[in-house]
Amino acid sequence: MSAASGKLIKGATGDWETVIGLEVHAQVTSNSKLFSGASTEFGGEPNSHVSLVDAAMPGMLPVINEECVRQAVRTGLGLNAKINLRSVFDRKNYFYPDSPQGYQISQYLSPVVGEGEVMLELDGGRTATVGIERLHLEQDAGKLLHDRSPSLTCVDLNRCGVALMEIVSKPDIRDAEQAKAYVTKLRSILRYLGTCDGDMEKGSLRADVNVSVRRAGATELGTRCEIKNMNSISFIGDAIEHEARRQIEIIEDGGTIDQETRLYDPGKGETRSMRSKEEAHDYRYFPDPDLLPLEFSEAFVAGIKAGLPELPDQKKARFIAEFGLSPYDASVLVAERESADFYETVLAGLADKARDGKLAANWVINELFGRLNKEGRDITGSPVSSEQLSAIVDLIGEGTISGKIAKDLFEIVWTEGGDPRALVETRGMKQVTDLGAIEKVVDEIIAANPDKVAQARARPQLAGWFVGQVMKSSGGKANPQTVNDLLKSKLGI
């Protein structure tokens, strides 16, 4: 699989390519932890969701949570990845107070999910494929609280033992835009699958970003640095740009890159060293003797596969095929599960979705999303419901109101609420298609403006003035097509 080319960075001595790989830690959506029955609820009192196993009391043993395994398999299938019917849990040994066992249970040599891929859509309709190296299950750590005591550090073990999926990409990403698109797409897939809520603010999704640079056209990989614990997509982009420039400057000044772990400081817009390769831990991985290898059958995987929801790529293809949406519009709708769900509910409420599906997409994207964006709201807080939007689209589609009137109607529904069909009736917003009524207006205007008639006959493009006048005097309710046809025949143009 070859990576899509990315934006090159201009250095003092030439162009440079950035090579990026990501390790995304996604917290598994499950009621209880990976190896204990304790709750995974976010934000409880410190140490209120801690079992004897989580606190690593003497003699406690881990027991695998089957739901977390299902979620990992589900995710693997969503990433078109190889599912390993046999995988092994290993211990990653290190001392830190957020890790009560003194080791993290993870998967090292035999992960539950192997190679897969994610399709990216980039600006200008370009696409790129990013390879997935592996996905494995592991325990999350607890949290250190430094603000509870002037002299002591406190430990909150609530998060300790919660299941994480570590999703490792291949170094297929070539610039910051692709990296952001990758995380966005991955998060979208996880949300569609319901395997991770993707909430980066709560830390449900975090990424370690590996960055190296090489001269444009080079094939050897440069020495990489790992930027740890990124919890915002825009910071990931910024951090990559800064880190790539830092590395280019060093190399161009005749220096070499030290392989190290770095942290990004969004305030200062720079990365700084956290620990060097020499300081790196020796994790002394070995198979956890408390756990048997994780084994399941083809049938187990098939059962999960049968229950998978439609994923964004499939949904997009269907929207294009069924409703003739542009690839761009389809992408906008499927980017978030909530948006796609909203659009699909609007579709379900339409009288004729084959006829008006595309129109509905325009309304969801341009009017509704446009308005929501402007007011900084998201789809879950929309004042216009899917039923209301379906009704508006129906009214346009069946020719009861014009697109222009529909915008007024949308405004009323947005601010005052109400049933669009009833509003059209009570407020007299119906489009006039009665030929006689429109003809009367046309005749009046032609009679009152003989000079304009002469001008229009000489230069037919000036007929637009008459259209405007007719529409104005009908309060916008005249059917524009009828008006046009009538004017053309009356003016003889």
């Binding site: 003497p58 107070p97 080791y103």
Partner: protein, 490 residues
């Protein structure tokens, strides 16, 4: 009440059932014996109030005809087993005064079946040792002495407290654990019966872990029958331990007295060590002769990878231990020795909390797992383990029902005699570690005495989950050799 303490568990069970005496009387008799035997240092925690309360409660149950299979039987519990509200230390300073808010699966099964807890028994620190000299509570003394000598001897380890207490008639039976011989070797040193069941037969939940892939709990008892009775209550599947196996627990006692006629007993050539004492050789042939006389057939077998077992064991066990003991960090429970940084707190706590043998094994384990050494040590040791397992499988596939070996290369030695060279101490496990490496059941049964009057044991190794055959064969040896009880000097 001496009479009551000298009963076997089976006899006491029958006496309780036909109301010849009460559990409280039986318990009091043992509590008295414990008090009189403090010189042995077998118990690190006596729980007389709890014992009497449990005995009274079970007496009430017996009166209503509701007693379980162990109703009213007073037992000692190795300090490696977590006992709810009763201090549990694994005999390490690092656990300090740790009182677990939970009960191990095995002990809760014993209490479910009506047993009474007398207290917690001494052991080597974190079960690391073969003489019970590494305990932070000091060494346990073997109730046996060499004829005409006052030298105090070790009871073996790591379940030295269990073995000593059972041999000295302080409890009717005891829980123990075995990672490389910690049930069978002390049983052999004290003239008691020690059963290490198949890996997965008993739950490890609530037992302080030493080496998870090798640790297995089992009983130390006065007779083979007593051992079978205890096994039935200790064994069973536990959803909290995914390495425990979901198989029906048989009535082990029913195996006692079953004919061993036609059974094939393997005699492994590789267990004949250079320089092995004559009396061990003699004991072994005697044992074989008894089994033959009972109708079993003796076959010479080869277990070619035996010689690699001990070195491989001393890689695998410390590797797992180094990781298992990482949780003792002074952060959440047990000893904490503060420092200026978290790193210093770890160092101070662990340096002060762990004794020298534990520190040695943590360091060996850390070393063999570290980058660059993992393949040469840990991975290779695991391969050896597979080969050892295969050796046994091939013998069993050829129809061998059980394998007879000596339990230990010598009788009990003096306290302080083998402290200097750790490898000399490790050699104690030479006949027992293979069984743990292969996950098989093994039983040590007293079979005779050495020239100085100290008990010696034989080991029988069985097929996976065939503890019953070991009980049947063990009882044949017991019948032939008789029981061994030390003369009271304490």
């Amino acid at each position: 009440m001496t009479r009551l303490t000298s009963l076997t568990l089976a006899e006491a069970r029958d006496g309780l059932a036909n109301k010849s005496f009460t559990s409280l009387e039986l318990t009091d008799a043992h509590l008295g014996a414990i008090e009189a035997a403090r010189a042995l240092n077998a118990f690190v925690m006596e729980t007389p109030d709890q014992a009497r309360a449990m005995a009274r409660a079970v007496d009430a149950r017996i009166a209503k005809g509701e007693g379980g299979p162990l109703a009213g039987i007073p037992l000692g519990i190795k300090d490696l087993f977590a006992t709810k509200d009763v201090r549990t230390t694994a005999c390490s300073k690092i656990l300090g005064n740790f009182v677990p808010p939970y009960e191990s699966t095995i002990t809760s099964q014993l209490w479910r079946d009506g047993a009474v807890m007398l207290g917690k028994l001494n052991n080597d620190e974190f079960a690391m040792g073969s003489s019970n000299e590494t305990s932070c509570f000091g060494p346990v003394v073997n109730p046996w002495r060499r004829e005409g000598s006052n030298t105090t001897l070790v009871p073996g380890g790591s379940s030295g407290g269990s073995a000593s207490a059972v041999a000295a008639l302080l409890c009717m039976g005891a829980t123990a654990t075995d990672t490389g011989g910690s049930i069978r070797q002390p049983a052999a040193f004290t003239g008691t019966v020690g059963m290490k069941p198949t890996y997965g037969r008993c739950s490890r939940w609530g037992i302080v872990a030493f080496a998870s892939s090798l640790d297995q709990a089992g009983p130390i008892a006065r007779t083979v029958r007593d051992s079978a009775i205890l096994m039935r209550s200790m064994a069973g599947h536990d959803p909290k331990d995914t390495t425990s196996v979901d198989r029906v627990v048989p009535d082990y006692e029913a195996a006692i007295g079953k004919s061993v006629k036609g059974m094939k007993i393997g005699i492994p050539n590789e267990y004949r060590l250079d320089g092995m004492p004559q009396e061990i050789e003699k004991l072994w042939s005697e044992g074989a002769a008894w089994l033959k006389a009972a109708g079993a057939e003796l076959v010479d077998i080869s277990l070619p990878h035996t010689k690699y077992a001990l070195p491989a064991y001393y890689i695998v066990a410390p590797a797992e231990a180094s990781s298992n003991l990482a949780r003792y960090d002074g952060v959440r429970y047990g000893l904490r020795v503060p420092g200026r940084s978290i790193g210093e707190q770890y160092e101070n706590t662990r340096a002060e909390g762990f004794g020298p043998e534990v520190r040695r094994r943590v360091m060996i384990g850390t070393y063999v797992l570290s980058a660059g050494y993992y393949d040469a040590y840990y991975l290779r040791a695991q391969k050896v383990r597979t080969l050892i397992k295969r050796d046994f499988e091939e013998c069993f596939a050829r129809g061998v029902n059980a394998i007879l070996t000596p339990a230990t290369p010598s009788a009990a030695f003096g306290i302080g005699e083998k402290g200097a060279d750790p490898v000399e101490m490790y050699l104690n496990d030479i006949f027992t570690v293979t069984v743990n490496m292969a996950g098989l059941p093994g039983i040590a049964v007293p079979a005779g005495k050495d020239t100085q009057g100290l008990p010696l044991g034989l080991q029988l190794i069985g097929r996976p989950f065939d503890e019953e055959t070991l009980f049947s064969l063990g009882e044949v040896i017991e019948q032939a050799a008789g029981r061994f009880t030390p003369a009271r000097w304490w």
